[in-house]
């Protein structure tokens, strides 16, 4: 029996400002911490690399790479918010790139190939959803299975050969074209992030995503279409992975059998680092954006500082352990 059970519910101070802005996607404490981490990391890397961080070439690399991670990370955030996970994203990206690459080899026009990327991605997401929702396979197991199956299919589709006939127009569209200081890929990613943040925070369907992750049983009893919303989440992640695959080919115009390997870890790391709880029900798109930037900055910084590449994994792991560990401790003591 809690001794303070009859205490007034407003006994603890609640900030007025926080209350007013609650429904706007403004930084909370978690996001503030991430922003601080981002700034500190940037300063350290900028000094360590004697300013190489801010050269135009490096900034473009960083921003395009961040866009490619951030777009599927939106879908991953939604999937994890519902209490699920998808670890097949890397192989999925490779398979979409391979199938789309074949379309390029067959000299299909760009207007015909873009839907191929989107629909293939959505279709592969649907396969994951079918295994998890009607198939009742736990999400980690189901997508671990498709992670290796999709990778095998990359070998089958490409016959283990490289696909190099990627039109340079992709690079022109996503990287060379700029709006202000930003390459087009980053602009597209930012627009998608803003739309997703608004959908999750203010739309009925977004609130249902959070409700499912908080208490699936209660959500079902409240008449929320749990199965349908979970289906949307996996298909959305597939679709966004398809778009990321297209941008990847703009960044480096060839498909190898290893395209996308390990990409899923980067995406999941970005989401988890951004404060989305793996148990579901809690997390924001703004957090995911900041998480993505930190993940990319660490990867870039390791190159700029001439550290051996495997250290980027160690560093990223340490940052995740530190930030997730710090976020979990107070939750346990409530």
């Amino acid at each position: 029996m809690p001794s303070d059970a009859s205490a007034h519910p407003l006994a603890q101070p609640g900030g007025r400002v926080r209350r007013i802005f609650r429904h706007l996607p403004l930084p909370g404490e978690r996001e503030g911490g991430l922003l601080a981490t981002l700034v500190v990391l940037s300063v350290l890397i900028a000094f360590g690399s004697h300013g190489a961080l801010f050269t135009p070439v490096n900034m473009d690399n960083l921003l395009v790479s961040a866009a490619i991670t951030a777009i599927p990370a939106i879908g991953m955030t939604v999937v994890i918010l519902t209490g699920g996970i998808d670890v097949s994203t890397g192989s999925m990206l490779g398979l979409v790139a391979a199938i789309g690459g074949l379309a390029f080899e067959a000299h299909w026009g760009l207007a015909a190939v873009v839907p191929v990327f989107c629909l293939t991605g959505a279709g592969l997401g649907l396969i994951n959803a079918a295994l998890i929702i009607p198939g009742r396979v736990p999400p980690v197991i189901a997508t671990l299975g498709t992670l290796s199956i999709f990778r095998m299919l990359v070998f089958l589709v490409t016959g283990s050969n490289w696909i190099t006939e990627i039109p340079p127009s992709l690079t022109t569209i996503f990287i060379v074209t700029r709006i202000g200081p930003l390459p087009m890929a980053s602009v597209i990613a930012l627009l998608m992030l803003a739309l997703a943040a608004f959908l999750l925070a203010r739309f009925r369907v977004g609130r249902h995503v959070y409700a499912i992750g908080n208490n699936e049983e209660a959500a079902r009893l409240a008449g929320i279409r749990v199965r349908r919303i979970k289906l949307y989440a996996y298909v959305l992640l597939g679709l966004l992975t398809g778009i990321a695959a297209l941008m990847t080919l703009g960044q480096s115009p060839m498909v190898q059998t290893s395209t996308g390997e390990g990409f899923e870890l980067k995406v999941i790391a970005a989401v988890v680092l951004g404060g989305t709880e793996l148990s579901g029900g809690r997390g924001t798109i703004l957090g995911t954006l900041l998480g993505t930037l930190i993940v990319e900055l660490v990867g870039d910084g390791v190159v700029l500082l001439h550290i051996q590449p495997f250290w980027s994994g160690v560093l990223l792991g340490a940052i995740i352990l530190f930030s997730v560990g710090a976020a979990w401790r107070p939750a346990r003591s409530d």
Binding site: P2, A5, P9, L10, E217, G223
Partner: protein, 515 residues
């Protein structure tokens, strides 16, 4: 006429009849208390009324029209809402979002309209004395009592005509209970029907207009308040155990204890196991048990009374209890079950599937899992033929029905699994054996057999503890009974003195005090 009319409701789960033809009516502007001990069928009845379960037989009429509920929303649409014992909440969402989850007010683009939701809930907040600022707080920052009020607000926003409260005060402090009762009074005055489920007899006259006693899936009586005395209601609740004589129900007459006397044992030898002033914050407080050898000590109490937690502390599974534990007069402080077992304490867990059997292993491995030391040969080799022989012996001794010692334990009936677990512990040289709900969900015949095995072990000189919320079982198998209530010892009876009414009364905190 009554707004809700349930007639002849029957519900079976597997072979168990949870409800055996129950009638219940709820009138608007009245509070109807549903009284019964754990396992009486109260929760099942409520799940049927809220559409979470479908009855196997019987009629549901709402406002005179026969209805079938296919899912909870069907019942909600007709104005029936429930406030569950553990509030069904979304911890990371705000209070406002909790109230409207699944029923958000949104414009035609699907954008949620917080201002409109706040306006809609405002009049109900006044009614519940909830400050409006509460709406923006995350649900997880509220105490359980306030969360419960949020759930009431949710029912009111849905325009519920009938609100069901499932043991709402079990999680509340005294002040919160008083506040809840005032609110229930107001709901009733508003012309809503209230169903109030409880096992706390003393609450009933404070809030109810009518009381129905449910035991063992049947209605034992239904009275307007004031027409039935406290003592009468208590005896109805004890029903099964009090009115039907024990020997007939379980084939275990009290004289079953005769062998003890015949074996020439002193009635209560010095205690083998003793706990003194044991306290574990939030679980139990100042508990003293004295457990003698050669007899069965029954521990009776409702779920949540702390009975299993004390046992688990003795067994080294729960840690951090303050107080003294003595085994044969020597202080012990087991830090893990393995240590308790080495000291000679055995514990047969409450949940057979989760904590007892090794489901994917054959019967043989399950029977001998606790005694592998006896079958180990030099270099750690296991003597498989000796293992098989021991398993066959146990199967014969405990009448375990299976095709052979190699058949998987998961293929056996619950009763045979339980006998197997029992055999597992009996194979060890123990001083104290604790059995937690040893016959839950087991057919009457096997129950009987297990009771005989329990008595047999006691006769051999073991100190046996049987923890149970099945009152007839406690009466049938025990030489003495300790009653637990809300984390404390509420009374203690020897075989000659124990009656169903006294034990139940102490367990639920009724006025008639322990002898």
């Amino acid at each position: 006429m009554a707004f809700v009319e349930l007639t002849g409701i029957v519900k079976n789960f597997g072979g168990v009849r949870a409800l055996k033809g129950v009638d219940l009516s709820v009138e608007l502007g009245r509070t109807h208390a549903l009284l019964g001990e754990n396992g009486a069928g109260k929760s099942t009845l409520i799940r049927i009324l809220t559409g979470a379960h479908r009855p196997d037989a019987g009629d549901i009429r709402i406002d005179g029209t026969p209805r079938t509920f296919r899912r909870p929303q069907d019942a909600q649409a007709l104005g029936i809402a429930a406030v569950y014992q553990e509030p069904m909440v979304y911890p990371h969402l705000s209070v406002l979002e909790n109230i409207f989850a699944g029923r958000e007010i949104a414009n035609s683009f699907g954008v949620v309209q917080h201002a409109a939701m706040r306006r809609k809930v405002a009049p109900w907040l006044d009614r519940l004395n909830m400050p409006a600022a509460l709406l923006e707080r995350p649900m997880s920052s509220l105490t359980l009592g306030w969360q419960q009020l949020v759930m009431i607000a949710q029912a009111l926003v849905q325009n519920a005509r009938v609100i069901i409260f499932d043991e709402p005060t079990s999680i509340l402090s005294q002040a919160e209970t008083d506040r809840l009762f005032a609110i229930i009074g107001r709901l009733r005055a508003d012309g809503r029907g209230v169903v109030y489920i409880t096992h706390r007899l003393d609450e009933v006259p404070r809030i109810a207009d009518r009381v129905t006693v449910l035991t063992d899936g049947r209605v034992r009586g239904s009275y307007p308040i004031g027409k039935a005395s406290h003592e009468h209601l208590l005896s109805l609740m004890a029903g099964r155990a009090g009115q039907e004589p024990v020997p007939d129900t379980h084939g275990l007459p009290r004289p079953h204890r005769a062998p003890l006397a015949a074996a020439g044992k002193p009635a209560f030898s010095p205690p083998v196991l003793e706990v003194r002033g044991l306290t574990l914050e939030g679980r139990f407080r100042d508990v003293s048990w004295s457990i003698p050898a050669g007899c069965v000590t029954g521990i009776y109490g409702l779920v949540g009374s702390g009975r299993s937690e004390v046992a688990l502390s003795v067994f080294g599974f729960l840690r951090g209890a303050r107080g003294v534990m003595l085994l044969e007069g020597k202080p012990i402080a087991p830090r893990a079950p393995a240590e308790a077992i080495r000291l000679g304490i055995g514990y047969l867990p409450e949940d057979r599937k989760l904590q007892g059997i090794f489901a994917s292993k054959p019967l043989e491995s399950n029977l001998t899992a606790n005694a592998l030391g006896r079958f180990t040969r030099p270099l750690g080799r296991l003597d498989f033929s000796a293992l098989a022989a021991a398993a066959r012996q146990a199967m014969a001794a405990y009448n375990i029905k299976a095709r052979g010692e190699a058949s998987p334990i998961a293929a056996l009936s619950g009763g045979n699994q339980q006998k197997g677990l029992f055999a597992r512990w009996a194979a060890r040289a123990l001083k104290v054996l604790i059995l937690d709900e040893p016959t839950r969900g087991i057919d009457v015949q096997t129950k009987d057999e297990i009771h005989r095995f329990v008595r047999g072990l006691a006769v051999q000189g073991l100190a046996v503890i049987v923890i149970s919320s099945d009152l007839p079982e406690v009466l049938a198998v025990s030489d003495r009974v300790i009653v637990m209530r809300q984390g404390r010892v509420a009374g203690e009876w020897s075989a000659e003195a124990m009656t169903a009414e006294a034990i139940l009364g102490a367990a639920i905190g009724a006025r008639s005090e322990a002898a």
